[in-house]
């Protein structure tokens, strides 16, 4: 049947056939749920009953008016701050491991491995590290003679619990950032560096004038990942602290999960999710605006 069609038509069939499937998957599993989420955010659905009463904008009003809901965003700041440091460290390691170094593949693997580990497993692992009485970190500090420090409650102190948690994220995602930077570094042609060397540029000058501009797009990408990651932290605090002490490490996504599944308020939870989505878009727009044109 197909052999009688012209080559162009056959081509079209093939293209449509190939495009339709992923499009269909995308529509059913990404766009349809997203639209449904927006619809639910205007209802007061309890997650169970067949009727979903329409209540207009009041869920959104609640999100912004209730400090207990919107206020938790300040906990996410720690993840953002540590994320910046994480990117700087990632660039540093990428540059170092891109040079001629013995056993560099081994070190690359070593730094990348934490990313492969399951997030929940990582959280439990660090539960043992940060435990106050039996934790390995406090034990180490005690052995090194820092007696006062070795009694620190790493996960129980409201002022820095978020930084403790964020440092786990640092350990976990730094290698991933590094690998992306490495790929970018390897795509910079070597002759540019050679030309710079002939002109008498030192290592730092080469880094500032050649490396950085060339990986600018990738820095932007990594910052994007860091920002969204920081806004959407969930697994670490959920497992390690349950949002404690006294709500000090609760993140926005945890609040959403709690609202939906503990308080049966799916409408409000949907509205919170939509707000989070908008928040990511806004923060990214700001980021793009600030960095605009630098990489061209």
């Amino acid at each position: 049947m197909f052999s009688r069609l012209s080559f162009k038509t056959q081509k079209n069939y093939v293209i449509i056939g190939f495009v339709a499937l992923p499009l269909l998957l995308l529509l059913t599993f990404a766009y349809y749920p997203a639209l449904e989420l927006i619809r639910l955010s205007f209802t007061s659905w309890d997650g169970l009953s067949p009727n979903k009463p329409w209540i207009g904008w009041s869920n959104y009003k609640e999100v912004f008016e209730n400090p207990a809901i919107f206020g938790v965003f300040k906990h996410n700041f720690a993840y953002f701050a540590v994320g910046i440091v994480q990117n700087i460290a990632a660039i540093y390691f990428a540059v170092v491991l891109n040079s001629k170094l013995k056993g560099k593949n081994f070190f690359r693997l070593l730094l990348f491995l934490p990313y492969i580990l399951n997030g929940v497993a990582v959280a439990y692992l660090f539960g043992y590290v940060f435990d106050t009485t039996n934790g390995s970190l406090n034990y180490l500090l005690g052995q090194l003679g820092f007696d006062a420090l070795s009694k620190t409650s790493w996960l129980g102190n409201g002022t820095f619990v978020n930084y403790t948690l964020a440092s786990i994220g640092f350990w976990r995602f730094m290698g991933f950032n590094m690998v992306i930077y490495l790929a970018a570094l390897q795509s910079i042609p070597n002759d540019i560096y050679e030309a710079a060397s002939i002109d008498g540029a030192n290592g730092w000058q080469k880094f500032i004038s050649i490396t950085l501009p060339n990986i600018y797009k990738i820095i932007e990408l990594n910052l994007f990942l860091t920002v969204t990651g920081a806004l959407e932290v969930f697994d670490l605090p959920y497992i390690l602290t349950k949002g404690g002490p006294a709500g000090g490490s609760e993140t926005f996504v945890m609040k959403i999960v709690e609202t939906a599944f503990q308080f049966n308020n799916y409408g409000l939870a949907s509205a919170m999710s939509v707000v989070l989505l908008l928040f990511v878009v806004i923060v990214l727009s700001i980021q793009r605006f600030l960095l605009k044109g630098k990489g061209e």
Partner: protein, 439 residues
């Protein structure tokens, strides 16, 4: 032209697929909205397989959705064999899931869920929408917790067993600390805790960080202080349900006192539940204030049964022993499932399976004695038992509206410099939610 044909073709494909989705949706909606009990088509489907045989004969497939992932391929194999021996026409299957409540709710919302489940946390008024009444199951005697999952005089849930709350303690640790008589008053309890602390033993494992172990301070201890179990319901009648001088304030002040006196873990924000069981078993920790279900777990973690004791928590200095009697999960039967076989299974689970003994429960049948020796020890104190009051939806509604996590409030109360401020904050949120709901 051909372009147009192909375009039309793809759009037809897309439309039919989308339409199929839509069709499914309306179907499930219709299913969940019909309130007719067990007479609609899906329900009669299964029993009709054996419709030619005697009506009394129970046949078909029954699926039990359980939370005990640890019993799959172990005890459940035996259960299946014994049950199917008694009811040869029935094919019993077990499906175990974790995160039970959330998962089950999602499956109920989708309109299709197993025949026998544990009731999810939904208001009692909604039970008849999904479950079949179970009043006609003929038990050999009176059962506990009849009225807790009832709606308009019909019973929709049967408790799988009961438990009580008290002090689970390590007898060796008590011996080491020189405690000769078990504390019968609150002052004696504090003195015993001091002795444990002086002996280098952490007196009470609170598992503060994990939140759920703090539930006893919100549900059970207030019951004992108030001498009545309806305090959670009564919250709906007031704008200030949490005050320092009512049962909540008193209960939370006890754990606050234990914390300030250093009777809990060294750092309550860094506790480890799995480790605590080992520590209670080894005598590094002295006591738990939890349900009797924890006794078997302490024994599994290395203690011998003789070393683990259980006594009622003395909430005051009256010397009168009091204890709550709490239901465990409730069996419920899907009204659109294989109802007859499911009921037979619930009956069998309560009367014959031996699950209550295995789990260390107080049996649902009132006449049956608990097998656990620690429960026998507990009963020698002759405690006055308080069965929980049937829940009132208004209080739950306000609590959900106010987004109030009571265990988190206990944490805040214990850690705060000024506990009164915590209560004020909670009461304000409560009053606002109550007003918004118009209750």
């Amino acid at each position: 032209m051909k372009k147009k044909i192909s375009l039309a073709l793809t759009s037809v494909v897309m439309l039919t697929i989308l339409a199929a989705c839509g069709g499914n949706n309306t179907n499930t909606n219709a299913n969940t909205t019909t309130n007719k009990p067990a007479t609609n088509e899906t329900a009669t489907n299964k029993p009709e397989n054996g419709g030619t045989e005697e009506a009394a004969k129970i046949t078909g497939e029954v699926i039990f959705l359980t939370n005990r992932t640890d019993m799959i391929d172990k005890q459940y194999v035996d259960y299946e064999k014994r049950f199917e021996d008694k009811y040869p026409g029935v094919d019993l299957k077990f499906e175990a899931i974790t995160d039970y409540d959330k998962t089950l709710k999602i499956r109920i919302a989708s309109g299709d869920f197993p025949d026998v489940v544990f009731t999810p946390t939904i208001p009692n008024a909604e039970l008849p929408n999904y479950f079949a009444p179970l009043d006609d199951i003929a038990f050999s005697g009176d059962i506990h917790f009849k009225d807790l999952k009832a709606q308009e005089g019909k019973m929709y849930g049967i408790s799988s067993g009961g438990s009580t709350v008290g002090i689970v303690y390590n007898k060796k640790a008590f011996e080491k600390a020189g405690i000769t008589a078990l504390p019968k008053t609150y002052d004696e309890f504090i003195a015993a805790s001091q002795k444990l602390k002086d002996a280098g033993i952490v007196p009470l494992a609170s598992n503060f960080k994990d939140k759920w172990p703090l539930d006893v301070w919100t549900y059970d201890i207030p019951t004992l202080i108030a001498g009545a179990s309806d305090h959670q319901n009564k919250r709906a009648e007031t704008d200030t349900p949490y005050t320092l001088d009512n049962e909540y304030g008193k209960s939370w002040s006890i754990i606050r006192e234990l914390h300030t006196k250093g009777f809990l873990e060294a750092d309550v924000n860094s506790t480890n539940w799995e480790q605590s069981k080992k520590d209670v078993a080894s005598g590094k920790f002295g006591m738990y204030l939890l349900g009797n279900w924890v006794i078997n777990q302490v024994i599994e973690n290395g203690a011998t049964s003789e070393d683990v004791g259980f006594f009622p928590f003395p909430v005051d200095n009256s010397g009168e022993a009091k204890a709550p009697l709490n239901p465990d999960f409730f069996y419920a039967v899907n009204k659109n499932g294989n109802v007859e076989a499911a009921k037979a299974f619930v009956h069998w689970m309560i009367e014959e399976s031996g699950y209550d003994d295995f789990a260390g429960f107080i049996p649902t049948l009132k006449a049956k004695e608990p097998k656990l020796p620690q429960l026998a020890e507990f009963n020698t104190f002759n405690p006055k038992f308080f069965e929980p009051a049937a829940p009132v939806d208004a209080a739950t509604e306000i609590q959900n509206k106010a987004q109030l996590d009571q265990a988190a409030v206990v944490q805040e109360f214990v850690l705060a410099k000024d506990p009164q401020k915590v209560l004020d904050k909670v009461n304000t949120a409560w009053a606002k939610a109550k007003k918004d709901l118009g209750l």
